[in-house]
């Protein structure tokens, strides 16, 4: 709670990481897609009215004006990377880590992918005699993915490595006293910050628009987009908010829609503590996640989290307000139930 937050990346490496990220995820896509668009526009006059814009299993099966490729290039090669960059910068804040580096590499790669795909598809149709069969897309697709991998790898390599530090343990606010015969429980709901939910809604909206466009224009594979929308919407509903409770029986957390859920019985709990968590630095994002250090967790925001040390399994954590109190209560239950730790508990009880 004090001024110094150890999970923050120190200012000078952070500035460097941000600058290279900006170059890689914003400037590189702008340059690459600008070159691509210029070449495409130069080619447009020499192209036939209708060119193949979609390939099925048996070859080209969708046709449209050649200018379609300009929009594909701008959408996938420029708008998408810039959106990724904005969301990443907003999400990471001052806690830089490998996830941000990966997003930057991916953004640069997407621009290369879109440019090679658009230019390649048109290039092989440029000198085609009217009515001749359009060649398969396989080679172009392979080239596009190779470009994505190559540019992505370079973009990854030029970015500095910033290792996130694991958050500190928070001091229990107070020991929870439990009187004889008393049943004490702790209940709370944790949910993503409004900004994150807005960003997700924006993404969902873009996907819905894409799916509607694909279904409306009868593009093959439109149903895939529709399925993706349903899956993403479900994932959002399932992971934006969780109900958490600590009872004498143990720890439980479940999504508002009832699934996913987790129950940790008290006899599986080794110990409980409150920690400070950085979603991007330590877990690479939000939701139900596995951290870089093996911890599993429901990560909805930055800040305090209750971390449950499990017997023979990696710790489980949930970011939540009042984690100190919840962890203290769970620890009290653990101390009370453990016979061999009785002398420790007795010392604590004697003063109360």
């Amino acid at each position: 709670m004090t001024a110094h937050d150890p999970t923050r990346t120190p200012p000078s490496p952070l500035r460097r990481a941000r600058l290279t990220f900006f170059l890689v995820a914003v400037v590189v896509p702008i340059v690459i897609s600008a070159i691509g668009v210029v070449v495409l526009l130069a080619w447009l006059p020499s192209m036939p009215d209708q060119v193949a814009i979609h390939w099925g299993v048996d070859g080209a099966d969708g046709f449209g004006p050649a200018s379609t490729y300009v929009w594909i290039l701008l959408g996938v090669g420029l708008v998408l990377p810039v959106l990724m960059a904005i969301i990443t910068l907003a999400a990471v804040g001052a806690q830089w880590g490998g996830a941000a580096r990966l997003m930057g590499a991916l953004a640069a790669g997407m621009a290369a992918f879109a440019t090679v795909l658009s230019l390649g598809s048109l290039a092989m149709q440029r000198d085609l005699a009217a009515g001749a069969d359009v060649p398969g897309i396989g080679l172009v697709l392979a080239g596009s993915f190779a470009a994505l991998a190559a540019v992505g790898a370079v973009a990854w390599a030029v970015q500095p490595q910033v290792r996130p530090e694991s958050g500190p343990t928070l001091e229990p606010r107070q020991a929870v006293r439990i009187a004889e015969g008393e049943r004490v429980v702790w209940l709370a709901t944790t949910s993503m910050p409004r900004a994150a939910v807005s960003a997700l809604l924006l993404l969902l909206f873009a996907l819905v628009a894409l799916a509607a466009f694909m279904l409306g224009t009868g593009v093959q594979g439109g149903w895939v987009a529709a399925v993706v929308v349903v899956v993403v919407a479900f994932a959002m509903v399932a992971t934006t908010a969780f109900r958490v409770r600590v009872t004498p029986e143990g720890f439980a957390a479940r999504a508002l829609i009832g699934w996913p859920r987790i129950t940790i019985p008290l006899d599986e709990v080794e110990s409980a503590r409150a920690v400070d968590v950085s979603p991007f630095g330590e877990f690479g994002g939000w939701g139900w996640r596995i951290g870089l250090d093996g911890r599993t967790g429901i990560v909805t925001r930055r800040g305090s989290a209750i971390e449950v040390e499990r017997r023979g399994r990696p710790p489980f954590l949930v970011t939540i307000d009042g984690a100190e109190e919840a962890a203290a209560l769970l620890q009290t239950f653990v101390d009370r139930a453990r016979p061999h730790g009785a002398h420790r508990t007795d010392q604590g009880k004697a003063t109360s």
């Binding site: 009187a179 049943r183 004490v184 702790w186 109900r243 009872t247 109190e325």
Partner: protein, 132 residues
Amino acid sequence: MLIRVDTDSPRPLYDQVAASVRSDILAGALVPGDRLPAARDVAEALDINQHTVLHAYQRLRNEGLVDLRRGRGAVIAASAAPLAELAQDIDALVRRAGALGVSAETLAGIVHAHRDPRSETKTPRSPEEVSP
């Protein structure tokens, strides 16, 4: 939110649930706008009847600490904010009373009875202030 009940206590269960919410407001753990957990969840966790929890929420609403809204559940009311400011005074008073051997129950009784005489003594005083 920490909720504690003692089924062996002579104090009604709903009153104990309401007291838990009140002490969370006092401690600043619950602030206006915060949503209380659904009565069903609380009942399940405490292993008590759901109506007991609803009774507690209703009681808190009558005290002006909680708004009950259809579809939104129980939300800490704006009028609950001053309670947190009293927290230290109450703590000091109860501590001092305890040191003097006065129980919290006795203190509560005195506080409850105190309200009426003071409001009565105030009324006659005001004309005096006006007269000179």
